[in-house]
């Protein structure tokens, strides 16, 4: 049975609007030219592939199902309380079983000694072996040999899959339309190589995590790799949903203020200066604090933790949006004020076009580049902000998988002796990759849309 969480629905909306935007770009030659700059840029194409990979994972993690369980004794089907996502089902081997506690990456033993009763009744302190993984080398008894074989096998497997895709999709779209300005030969190679590398990493990790805990396990024995992958959805949602939710406000208020002017302008300006004058961290903190009290006092009787945590995530996005909204609004106001004076807008005004259709036809298309640059630039800042907010306990729900929560837990792990470093490391790694490529992408997009700022390397 499918379950639709609130954030799922919004995530689908994001995907749909993305698709609509792509269609729109393909039909508009101007936009196509701008975007082709991004696609022709090496950094641009690599970051697009990596980011879409992350998006894909988040998408799979946003399709939720309740599993039917057969009760053996009663022969009746019931729906389990657990909500699983499609990603959970794909990643089943990485998380279906929990170990007892910490174990380091690729280890076959727990990280701390325990007293074990031997068969002869005596007791001994040893590192207990892991229950599920680490001792099952698939291909060879020697660990390093096993690793090499796994790697080679994944290399081959991914190559086969890659070829399959290459022949079916790439060939058709890339080579049949050679005159499409989106593509040029040089970048196809980079695109393919990036895709191939990602595919290889995915298959390798998948195969490895059926045998080992690639990034170790956490305090209650959950695979850290699984946690990090699950956190991708939270990160991406906070990065995208936040801006998407508030985008309509920013666009319309900004345009109204700039285009209509007068008292409307004054009021809108007043609103955003007021909001802007409160330091954003404080505004976010107090809003979330208030919301928490409100939720605690008016519990919207949720049967399971997922929905509650999901609602909190959604509200977090809303509140974050509230603070990032003002900056964009101010930019748009300025831009539409400039546009108001531009000849073709003035001309259509004299031709008697009503204001609404002028906004739709002339203003919006001409401010879209600012919107896109802002959205892309905000994305990485928001992903980073999530971690900080979780540290202050005003971030996502503690039960939600997120990098912020992982870092929060890791603070204690870092004070252990010997140090449990892998939780922090994995959160760092995943977050770094996502934010790095988002930043690189943002740079390229800005260069493409804002020719004045573009400083091309010679």
């Amino acid at each position: 049975m499918f379950v639709y969480l609130l954030t799922d629905i919004f995530f689908y909306l994001i995907i749909i609007s993305l698709l609509i935007y792509i269609l729109y770009v393909r039909r508009t030659p101007d936009m196509l030219r701008t975007w082709s700059y991004v696609f022709k840029n090496k950094t641009g194409i690599i970051s697009i592939v990596v980011l879409s990979f992350f998006m894909l994972i988040a998408f799979f993690d946003s399709i939720h199902v309740k599993k039917k369980i057969l009760n053996n004794d009663t022969n009746q089907f019931i729906y389990s309380n657990d909500i699983q996502s499609l990603l959970d089902i794909i990643l089943l081997p990485t998380y279906e079983n929990f170990e007892k506690s910490y174990s380091s990456p690729f280890s076959s033993k727990l990280y701390s000694k325990e007293t074990i009763k031997l068969k002869d009744g005596s007791e001994k302190r040893i590192y207990p072996g892991l229950a599920y993984k680490g001792n099952h080398n698939k291909y060879s008894k020697n660990i390093s040999a096993n690793l090499v074989i796994t790697a080679i096998l994944s290399l081959v497997k991914s190559f086969i899959i890659f070829l399959f895709f290459y022949l079916i999709i790439f060939y058709r779209t890339l080579y049949e339309r050679k005159n499409n300005i989106f593509y040029n030969f040089k970048n196809n190679n980079i695109l393919c190589i990036t895709f191939y590398i990602l595919l290889f990493i995915f298959l390798l990790l998948y195969d490895l995590s059926t045998q080992y805990y690639v990034l170790g396990t956490d305090k209650v024995g959950v695979d850290v790799l699984y946690k990090s992958i699950k956190s991708i959805r939270t990160g991406i949602l906070i990065g995208t949903l936040t801006t998407i939710v508030m985008l309509p406000f920013a666009i319309f208020l900004g345009i109204f203020a700039g285009f209509i002017g007068g008292i409307v302008d004054d009021i809108i300006q007043y609103i955003y200066t007021t909001l802007n004058s409160i330091p954003s961290v404080l505004l976010i903190a107090s809003a979330i604090l208030i919301l928490q009290v409100h939720m605690a006092n008016n519990p919207l009787n949720f049967e399971n933790i997922y929905e509650r945590a999901d609602l909190r995530l959604f509200f977090l996005c809303m509140i974050l949006g509230l603070t990032s909204w003002t900056g964009l609004c101010r930019l748009l106001r300025g831009e539409s004020m400039k546009l108001r004076e531009v000849e073709f807008v003035q001309a259509s005004q004299t031709f008697g076009l009503n204001k609404f259709s002028i906004i739709i036809r002339h203003i919006i298309p001409n401010i879209m580049h600012i919107v896109i640059i802002t959205v892309v630039l905000d994305f990485s800042a928001l992903v980073l902000a999530e971690a900080v907010l979780s540290y202050v306990n005003i971030g996502v729900d503690p039960t939600t998988y997120s990098w912020g929560n992982m870092i929060n837990d890791a603070r204690l792990e870092m004070s252990r002796e010997p140090v449990v470093w892998w939780s922090l490391f994995s959160a760092f790694l995943f977050m770094f990759i996502l934010v790095l490529f988002a930043n690189l992408f943002a740079d390229v997009v800005r260069d493409a849309f804002d020719p004045r700022a573009s400083k091309k390397y010679e």
Partner: protein, 713 residues
């Protein structure tokens, strides 16, 4: 070259440090004063007013400053009360309806306590006591006088005064005053004769002038409390309540000089955060000299302290001789105690390991790093920490965690066999041993009954055990198997979890609170436990307030809760199942609304008894009843660990006593030596960075020069 860097660094750091003989990472400005105790506090204390303070982090300070009448013996187990400022233990007299002394137990309506306090006990020096020409000059401060005053230290004159019985009586009056928000006013209302009437009287008398208000309190007395003479007073209780003596040992019943209350009540002082809530005035071994809850709290020896001899223990093996490590030594040993605010766990633990804190509790995450189970199952420190000379003290807290069944529920509750059998089956099915190892990191003792170890009537699970859950096989007490639970379930009419009457599977509901990361794991675990006997558990997660509401209305079914003892008496645990304390009907603490006539009868009998064989037998009888009825699944009693360094001496685990700082001792020779060894600075990384930096700068300069020349050419 390297040497040069080294010197450069040392010079640099020396400049910053100004002092060469202590490690670079020392968080203290001076380690010159040897007899100082260093520790930390996690959260700034909210109330240091003894009428209000009710949490252990506040007691850590005020119990060293204020002295109630009695205290717990530091060394003796089970816990025992001894006089502190009192001359001796109180004389207890029983009165009949007409306040005439009586001996007949059925005639008793009131109990009278007569307390004598020691003569010659002096308060710490404090400006509130200072008199000039017979006048308190600091009781009428003007704004002008206060200009230069920012903390208590800024008052130029101080004085002291003798402790008298009136001070204790005054404090009890303060407890009844609504504006002091004492958390125990409600409880005391039930016991102390005239308390609630006095409370009402104070509420009715509403004078906006603070002084008039306080004078009114000084002039009017609670009906049941009388000052007999300068050094003795009496309290009359409305009923028999032997446990009252434990209350008298809590900081709530500390003496409060009226001068202090008047002094701190002055409005302009409040603006400077100089209030009774922040600056205590006591007779104890220490006084608070620096109060900066944002940074540190400093206790210093109270010069006026009368002195107390280190306690000794009756040695049962050696013919009842008194033994004491510190025979005839006068406490306190420590001159000064510095508590630093340390909110984060990492720095706290690391500073402890570096030797900058003398003691530390163990956070659960540091647990398996610090502690190991040895062959006999006893807990000891790991080799690493043992090598460092760290000591471990364990103690089982006087508290219990349990899963309760709502006895008013139609499925799981009630005294009918069907429900009882179901409860018994569940009691067997749920494996609390596993719970302790997963969720409490092994820090707990499996409970046989509500009574935790160290409390009279405790059953340790060897000779005395819970017969519903355990059985004796070959002289070993072991847990009954799941099979037996299933048999019980079948008897109850739920074969394989199917209700025979309806043919539908049995679904039970668990009311959970909290949203922590552990909650989720716990609920999964619990569901698994119920699954063992084919019962489906639905968990309903709400917040604590909503949970409370469910408990009060009796709409919950199964829940987990805990209880922390107020005092070490079995009454404080067994009353949790006394029917008159039912949560739904009476708003008491009996959350499972258990009601059993036999149990109630025995409870009332046991309640007012002194600890004796007779009492023990009654308690056994009571436990048998509840162990058979299973209103709770007896969970576990948590253990608390605390670590201390070898130079921190005389550390005994005593969870009831709070005023233990006076017994501790510091051996600074060992401390300073160890700190030096443990904190050697390592400059390697700095050298590398410096070399990199220098080579980077040089190459940049070279590059710039080269490029510039190119351009010019």
């Amino acid at each position: 070259m390297l040497k040069l860097f080294k010197y450069a660094f040392i010079v640099l750091f020396l400049l910053l440090e100004g002092c060469a003989d202590k490690p670079l990472n020392s968080p203290y400005s001076s380690l010159k004063n040897k007899n100082v105790f260093y520790s930390s506090f996690q959260e700034r204390p909210k109330h240091l007013d003894p009428a209000r303070s009710y949490s252990s982090n506040e007691y850590a300070f005020i119990a060293q400053i204020y002295e109630p009448l009695f205290q717990y013996h530091y060394l003796e187990k089970p816990y025992k009360l001894i006089p502190l400022t009192a001359e001796r233990m109180p004389v207890v007299k029983y009165l009949d309806k007409n306040f005439v002394e009586t001996n007949k137990s059925n005639n008793i309506s009131y109990t009278k306590y007569i307390v004598n306090i020691k003569k010659g006990i002096m308060y710490q020096d404090h400006p509130a006591f200072y008199k000039k020409n017979g006048q308190f000059i600091y009781h009428n401060l003007s704004k002008n006088q206060l200009k230069k005053i920012n903390s208590l230290k800024d008052f130029t004159h101080e004085s002291t005064r003798e402790l008298i019985a009136k001070d204790y009586v005054y404090q009890i009056k303060r407890l009844s005053d609504k504006k002091n928000h004492s958390p125990i006013a409600g409880v005391m209302q039930e016991y102390i004769y005239g308390f609630s009437e006095y409370r009402k009287k104070l509420t009715d008398y509403k004078d906006n002038n603070y002084k008039n208000n306080q004078n009114y309190i000084i002039d009017n007395d609670i009906a049941g409390i009388k000052v007999i003479n300068r050094y003795s007073f009496s309290i009359i209780l409305k009923k028999q309540y032997p446990q009252f003596i434990y209350w008298l040992a809590m900081p709530f019943f500390s003496p409060m000089p009226w001068e202090a209350d008047i002094f701190y009540g002055q409005e302009p002082l409040k603006e400077k955060n100089i209030t009774l809530n922040w600056y205590p005035v006591g007779t104890g071994p220490f006084k608070l000299t620096e109060n900066n809850p944002n940074l540190r709290m400093v206790l210093e020896k109270n010069k006026n302290f009368r002195g107390e001899v280190y306690p000794s223990l009756l040695d049962k093996i050696n013919n009842g001789k008194l033994i004491s490590k510190n025979k005839d030594l006068v406490v306190p040993f420590i001159e000064k105690a510095i508590y630093s605010l340390e909110k984060e766990q990492i720095p706290r633990w690391n500073k402890f390991l570096q030797g900058y804190y003398d003691n530390s509790g163990i956070a659960s995450d540091n647990y398996d790093q610090a502690v190991s189970l040895d062959k006999s199952g006893d807990i000891s420190l790991t080799e690493d920490l043992k090598d460092k000379g760290i000591h471990l003290a364990t103690a089982t807290a006087a508290s219990t965690y349990y899963i309760g069944f709502n006895m008013l529920d139609s499925v799981i509750g009630g005294s009918n066999d069907r429900a009882r059998l179901l409860r018994q089956a569940l009691t067997i099915a749920i494996d609390y041993d596993e719970y302790i190892s997963i969720f409490a990191n092994g820090r707990g003792i499996l409970a046989q009954s509500p009574i935790p170890p160290g409390i009279f009537g405790y059953q340790d699970g060897t000779k005395e055990y819970n017969h519903t859950v355990f059985q004796n096989k070959n002289n070993l007490v072991i847990k009954k198997s799941i099979k037996e639970a299933k048999i019980l379930l079948k008897k109850a009419g739920y074969k394989d979890g199917i209700d025979e009457r309806t043919g539908k599977p049995l679904i039970l509901y668990f009311e959970a609170t909290g949203s922590g990361a552990d909650t989720y794991a716990f609920l999964n675990w619990l569901r698994k436990q119920f699954k063992k006997i084919n019962i489906q558990l639905v968990t309903r997660v709400t917040d604590y307030n909503r949970f409370q509401e469910k408990m009060i209305n009796g709409t919950g079914q199964i829940f987990q809760w805990g209880w922390n003892a107020d005092y070490p008496d079995p009454e404080n645990f067994l009353f949790l199942l006394y029917s008159k304390n039912g949560k739904v009907k009476f708003g008491g603490e009996n959350a499972s609304n258990y009601s059993n006539y036999e149990f109630d009868k025995l409870f009332l009998k046991m309640k007012n008894m002194e600890n004796s064989d007779n009492r023990e037998n009654i308690i056994k009888e009571m436990l048998k009843i509840i162990q058979y009825d299973c209103p709770w699944i007896w969970g576990f009693h948590p253990k608390s660990f605390s670590l201390s360094h070898e130079w921190f001496e005389n550390v005994e685990s005593n969870l009831m006593a709070n005023n233990t700082l006076k017994y501790n001792k510091i051996n600074d020779n060992i401390r300073s030596e160890k700190i030096k060894i443990w904190n050697k600075a390592n400059f390697t990384l700095m050298y590398i960075l410096l070399v990199l930096l220098v080579s980077f700068i040089i190459s940049v300069l070279v590059m710039i020069k080269k490029k510039d020349e190119e351009k010019v050419l």
